[in-house]
């Protein structure tokens, strides 16, 4: 076979619902929450759910879809390791006649970059995109910056992320325009490449500070709390006071620890993503599709909250 043959669309079900949920970086806190939400919902609905961790391996994605097909799964929910694998995922699911829903990251039916995709070709999705997250971060940073009353000449921004992870890049790149749109001035921006772990972020930011001793106040954002915590810690170690640091994280998992412990920290806010709800909603939507043939919504958003040391408890973030 040349690989281009079409298979008939999905048939009815024998009543048994089997869903595969595939996640990139399944060992990260956010995705663990999402997995938990999915499992709880699946248990409540009494359906079979198989979780698969794809790591960052695009090739494993296709293996996992093939496995799901061989296992006669009815539906696949997926967070792709990289959006470029999207068309292959769509094609594979179509070949095998399996319903496809994505969470968190968008994929396109026929383009490797969702940004180039015509809206009707975007696969139905639940969650919050990297660009949306970055926008929230930029907005919050601008708000905190204005409240701090720093002079633009003495302030710089550190953006720390693993530069070959596309969704991280999307988040970070969206933050700056949002910062400016929310009234932030033109500040010196220093991009720092890390491997997305706190120790590495700390090392790299420490070195960056060396080269920028003149800066008095720092804004730190990045791909996630790991980068921001590492960066903020490096600044604190280098002698900067917490008042001179504005760290805005994503996910809240590490920020919340420092806040709970009652320590003053330069991490002033973090965008809490309720992974649990995304997972739960995704499983419910897939169930409705399989059982009742109810169409997916094109875009369903889950709740995200920008939390601060004062608000995180009320928002329901625990750690």
């Amino acid at each position: 076979q040349s690989g281009k043959e079409e298979t008939p669309p999905p048939g009815g079900t024998d009543g048994k619902v089997k869903i595969y949920y595939m996640q990139k970086q399944g060992t990260q806190d956010y995705f663990l929450g999402e997995a938990k939400g999915a499992k709880d919902k699946a248990a409540a609905l009494g359906i079979e759910l198989v979780m698969v961790d794809l790591g960052n391996d695009t090739s494993k994605t296709l293996d996992a879809i093939n496995t799901a097909a061989a296992q006669k799964a009815n539906g696949i929910i997926i967070v792709v390791p990289d959006p470029s694998v999207g068309p292959a995922v769509v094609q594979a699911a179509k070949d095998k006649g399996i319903h496809l829903l994505t969470t968190d990251d968008q994929i396109c039916v026929d383009k490797p970059k969702p940004a180039d995709c015509s809206p009707d070709k975007i696969v139905p999705r639940i969650g919050f995109s990297g660009t949306q997250m970055g926008t929230e971060v930029g907005k919050k940073a601008a708000e905190l910056y204005k409240a701090a009353g720093w002079s633009p000449a003495e302030t710089a921004i550190i953006a720390a992320w693993k530069q070959d992870v596309t969704v991280c890049t999307d988040r970070v790149k969206a933050a700056l325009p949002a910062f400016k749109a929310a009234g932030g001035p033109d500040l010196k921006l220093i991009e720092v490449g890390t491997d997305n772990t706190p120790p590495d972020a700390q090392t790299k930011v420490a070195a960056t500070v060396t080269a920028n001793r003149a800066v008095k106040n720092w804004i730190v954002w990045g791909c996630n709390d790991e980068n921001v915590t590492g960066g903020v810690t490096a600044l604190e170690n280098a002698g900067y006071k917490v008042e001179n640091i504005i760290g805005v994280g994503i996910n809240g998992d590490l920020a919340c620890k420092a806040w709970s412990a009652g320590k003053a920290t330069g991490t002033k806010a973090s965008l809490w993503l309720a992974g649990h709800e995304v997972g739960s909603l995704a499983v419910q939507s897939m169930y409705d599709k399989i059982k009742n043939n109810k169409d997916f919504e094109r875009e369903a958003y889950a709740k995200t909250t920008m939390v601060t040391p004062d608000s995180y408890k009320a928002a329901g973030l625990t750690c």
Binding site: S2, G3, T58, Q71, D82, K111, P112, D164
Partner: protein
């Protein structure tokens, strides 16, 4: 010895298939076996050439990066020869990627032979370097879109006689390398070089040429693996091969009976080992084992498999095994 090794691998594989076959009624279905086959293709290609280089007394840790580089290069050439994203010339894309891979292999070989650098250090260094080059030329982003092309679609999804194209590629490469090793003077000389480099040199074998050639072979096949990676994932991503592929390939080679000092190993053993690892991985996923347990299980089973293998040969437990 080698037979014992292969027999215990077959035993372990049969055990894995049986256990998961009982736990899941779809596991032994033809379509799932094809999935296992596809899942092991990339690691299998790298393990096959890794076996060849380990037999020569070397090792290549940079294979994963080389595959990633080839993934990017092939997609970029495809994009350039086309409309900037897709619809390019697949043969040019594949050809350039394989030439770049072979050239990378030669660089590895030259560093090792003429630079007198230990193969582990040299290829560790090149692991970083090739990854960096792939990231640089691609800007860290996925490149091109390959699924507009029939050839790439065939590589990614086609099949012949019901067997997926990827598995055919692995089978053909493995067969060729097997024949090279077992039936040609070149292969026998490779065993001699790895077994005792001084003996080989005194026998008039041009060791340098062999070492550089085998690294070139590794580079070319790693590039082939990278092209398949790109075709499967529709686009070439610079970190495509970096998720521990080299460790998988090396693990399979050793598990399949290669000796770290060289001069020992077979393609059959390596393929068995890589299939065992793949069957295990898919099995654990199918049964829905939590990924954390999968790590523990894979590590533990690898140890158990090798221990059983070793017990069979009845070595004494003194010092470090060779």
């Amino acid at each position: 010895m080698n037979r014992v090794q292969n027999l215990s691998l077959i035993g372990a594989l049969a055990g894995v298939l049986a256990v998961f076959g009982i736990l899941n009624d779809q596991y032994l279905s033809l379509s799932n076996l094809a999935v296992i086959g596809q899942a092991v293709t990339i690691a299998g290609l790298l393990a096959v050439v890794q076996t060849a280089v380990i037999i020569c007394g070397g090792i290549d840790i940079s294979v994963g990066s080389q595959a990633g580089l080839a993934a990017v290069v092939s997609s970029m050439v495809f994009a350039w020869t086309g409309d900037g994203l897709a619809n390019g010339n697949a043969f040019a894309a594949i050809g350039v990627a394989i030439v770049v891979g072979a050239a990378g292999g030669v660089v590895n070989g030259v560093i090792i032979v003429y630079g007198r650098v230990n193969a582990i250090i040299a290829t560790l260094a090149m692991l970083a370097a090739y990854k960096g080059i792939a990231q640089l030329i691609s800007g860290g982003r996925a490149q091109g879109y390959l699924l507009t092309n029939d050839l790439f679609i065939f590589i990614a999804r086609g099949s012949v006689l019901g067997v997926p194209a990827m598995i055919w590629i692995l089978g053909i490469v493995a067969l060729l390398v097997h024949l090279l090793l077992k039936t040609t003077d070149i292969g026998r000389n490779m065993y001699a070089i790895g077994g005792n480099a001084v003996a080989a040199r005194l026998a008039g074998i041009n060791i340098n040429k062999y070492i550089i050639s085998v690294y070139m072979l590794v580079g070319a096949v790693a590039a082939l693996a990278g092209i398949i990676l790109a075709a499967r994932s529709t686009a070439g991503h610079p970190t495509a091969g970096s998720e521990g592929l080299e460790l998988k390939a090396i693990t399979a080679a050793f598990l399949g009976g290669c000796a770290i000092a060289g001069g020992k190993g077979s393609i059959g053993g390596t393929l068995l080992a890589v299939t065992l690892l793949g069957a295990l991985e898919i099995g654990l996923t199918v049964v829905g084992v939590n990924p954390f347990w999968q790590n523990v299980a894979q590590g533990a089973l690898l140890v158990v498999a090798v221990v059983i293998q070793q017990r069979r040969t009845g070595d004494r437990a003194v010092g470090l095994p060779g």
